[in-house]
């Protein structure tokens, strides 16, 4: 596995050097890629390991962002308070809502989460005493690590990505653990998994809670990056673009999530050079991926590799 180690080292070097060589707007996008990776990891766990389509991630993203905004701007608390409050509220909500709705499956569950996202989006708009409505909350301070202020995209980049790597490690742990085994068994045959005492409901709820935690964390990071949050950032459209991250990249692969996050942050930016038509092209790109690459970019990459090297063993871990 030395070649794999080499790849990782090379990737790390590029990662560390990147913000010093790219213009500010690209550094800014890379920060967003990190934030989206975190949010997308949660959805990837649900989609790839539980077969659950979560269309409510913008809700948890919004809870994290508003908690950070409210705690720092309105209450004058330190930044960490916003992260913690957002995480606690998101996880509690995910647990309370997850218990009943995760009994649903397939389309019904997907549309229930979509409805949940639409409800939250309407409430963010309506509860302007808390969220500032469309005017939003501005003046959110930049993060401050023991006196070192992360006020430029290149500085924030490192912080966001260290959080993202930590989340990736956590997700990786989960997939390789006893819980991961049970999740995969459940996805293949929930009937047989039940006969082996795998508790589907409890596991699905727990993963939903983890997904909400990642969403909230990403939201808090977003609030401190943008300095301003308003309802427009937490609509159902945002949930859809979060869902696209694992769909495009490949839900069971952690590098796939990063690829998906790069796709949804950079592609709209590149397409926007073509003018307003970019949103149409983005929609078409999604349709193209779903129709032509049903298991995402990473799945397609894997198939390509296998085709080029047919003698290699078909399943590597």
């Amino acid at each position: 596995m030395t070649s794999r180690l080499l790849w990782i080292v090379a990737a790390l070097v590029i990662w560390a050097a990147l913000p010093f060589f790219v213009p500010r707007n690209i550094a800014d996008l890379l920060v967003f890629t990190g934030i989206y990776t975190i949010a997308g990891l949660g959805i990837g766990l649900l989609l790839g390991h539980c077969g659950i389509v979560n269309l409510a991630q913008a809700t948890f993203y919004g809870l994290g962002a508003y908690s950070s905004a409210y705690c720092t701007v309105m209450l004058g608390l330190p930044s960490i308070a916003g992260f913690v409050v957002g995480a606690v509220i998101s996880m509690a909500l995910a647990y309370l809502i997850g218990r009943p709705i995760l009994r649903l499956t397939g389309y019904f569950l997907a549309l229930a989460t979509l409805a949940l996202g639409a409800i939250a989006s309407a409430l963010f708009f309506e509860w302007d005493w808390l969220t500032g409505g469309t005017l939003g909350i501005g003046g959110i301070p930049k993060l401050d690590l023991f006196g070192f202020v992360l006020d430029r995209p290149s500085r924030y980049y490192f912080f966001v990505w260290i959080v993202a790597f930590t989340c990736m490690a956590v997700a990786h742990n989960l997939v390789g653990s006893r819980t991961g085994l049970m999740l995969r068994s459940m996805r293949d045959s929930s009937t047989a998994a039940a006969s082996l005492s795998v508790d589907l409901q409890a596991l699905r709820t727990q993963v939903f809670v983890v997904c909400a935690l990642f969403g909230s964390l990403a939201g808090s990071l977003f609030a401190h990056h943008a300095s301003f949050v308003s309802t427009q950032s937490f609509t159902v459209d945002r949930s859809i673009s979060f869902l696209l991250i694992p769909v495009i990249g490949g839900a069971t692969s952690i590098p796939g999530i990063v690829a998906g996050a790069l796709f949804v942050t950079f592609l709209p930016e590149l397409l926007s050079k073509l003018g307003d038509i970019h949103q149409i092209l983005f929609g078409l790109a999604l349709v193209g991926v779903v129709v032509l690459l049903p298991d995402g970019l990473m799945g397609a990459y894997g198939r390509l590799q296998r085709r080029l090297a047919p003698r290699r063993s078909g399943h590597d871990h």
């Binding site: 409805a115 159902v236 769909v247 999604l286």
Partner: protein, 295 residues
């Protein structure tokens, strides 16, 4: 809470409910015929309404012709989507999730196309039956609302007759209930699926055209109508298009009566909460036996 306020709410509820019913019936017809939940069903409404607006204002068509043109546009887009995408993916035995993502992608594309080609502004159609109103116990009821209700009920009855009386309707039912059996009797199952998308597009477009004199149509309307239509379809039993009619009116009434006295923007919150609660509390019952599984 006065009587006229309640009456006004009931009327608004029935009016909205008929629109949800039309969108929901289309969604249900498509699900019945293809086992696909069409997440762009609301976009059919936007296509129908926008086409009618353009034919009326830009091309100067007479209003009834423009309405027919709008409905036809919905039907054509429905056919196109089935032939261009669904048929291919069904051939590859794509999963439920893939179809959902496909239709979400199509919804994004269509909504972005409206934004690009037509712009951000909302557009209204003139009310059918003129600007007149009817006053019943201080409640103001637009003539258009009465027309909408009449047309909605008419469309529901026609749909019923279509499924039970015509050869095409019966063939579509047969193909959806037992594709293999239908194929052995010479029914072209793939073509029947195309027809269900035509029907879905037609019904969705009609719903959009009828609501546009009341609510300005813009590129954001589709998603909301998709969710409301889905709620209507689930309430009425997903595989029963006529049940969706009852479901739509029920949903319209519940949301408009629930918000008497509070901000009307809670309307969606109420409707979507009803949707979630119904799905949880009646996981099998409301759908009957066949509806649950994708296969």
């Amino acid at each position: 809470m006065t009587l006229s306020l309640v009456l006004q709410a009931v009327f608004a509820g029935v009016t909205n409910g008929i629109v949800y019913a039309l969108v929901g019936m289309g969604l249900s017809a498509i699900f019945k015929g293809s086992r696909v939940i069409n997440a762009m069903q609301g976009e059919f409404a936007v296509i129908g309404a926008m086409t009618t607006v353009l034919l009326l204002t830009k091309s100067g068509w007479p209003y009834p012709a423009a309405i027919a043109g709008g409905a036809l546009a919905g039907a054509l887009v429905g056919a196109f989507i089935e032939i261009a995408f669904v048929r291919y993916m069904a051939g590859k035995k794509a999963s439920e999730d893939s179809f959902l993502l496909l239709t979400i992608g199509l919804a994004l594309t269509l909504s972005a196309s409206v934004l690009f080609f037509i712009g951000r502004d909302g557009h209204l159609l003139p009310p059918i039956g003129g600007e007149g109103v009817l006053i019943v116990l201080d409640a103001v009821i637009q003539f258009h609302a009465l027309w909408l209700i009449a047309i909605g009920i008419g469309a529901t009855l026609l749909l019923r007759a279509f499924f039970h009386r015509t050869t095409l309707g019966l063939s579509m039912m047969a193909a959806s209930i037992d594709p293999d059996g239908a194929a052995t009797t010479g029914i072209n199952v793939a073509r029947m699926r195309t027809f269900t998308f035509v029907l879905g597009g037609l019904l969705g477009a009609l719903g959009g055209i009828l609501v546009t004199p009341l609510i300005a149509v813009d590129y954001t309307l589709g998603l909301n109508l998709t969710l409301k239509g889905f709620a209507a379809a689930v309430l009425g039993g997903l595989t029963n298009p006529l049940g969706a009619a009852v479901g739509g009116v029920t949903l319209g009434l519940v949301e408009s009566l629930a918000i008497i006295g509070i901000s009307s923007s809670y309307k969606d919150v109420v409707a979507f909460t009803v949707l979630i609660v119904i799905m949880i509390l009646m996981p099998q019952g409301i759908l009957g036996r066949a509806g649950r599984r994708g296969g």
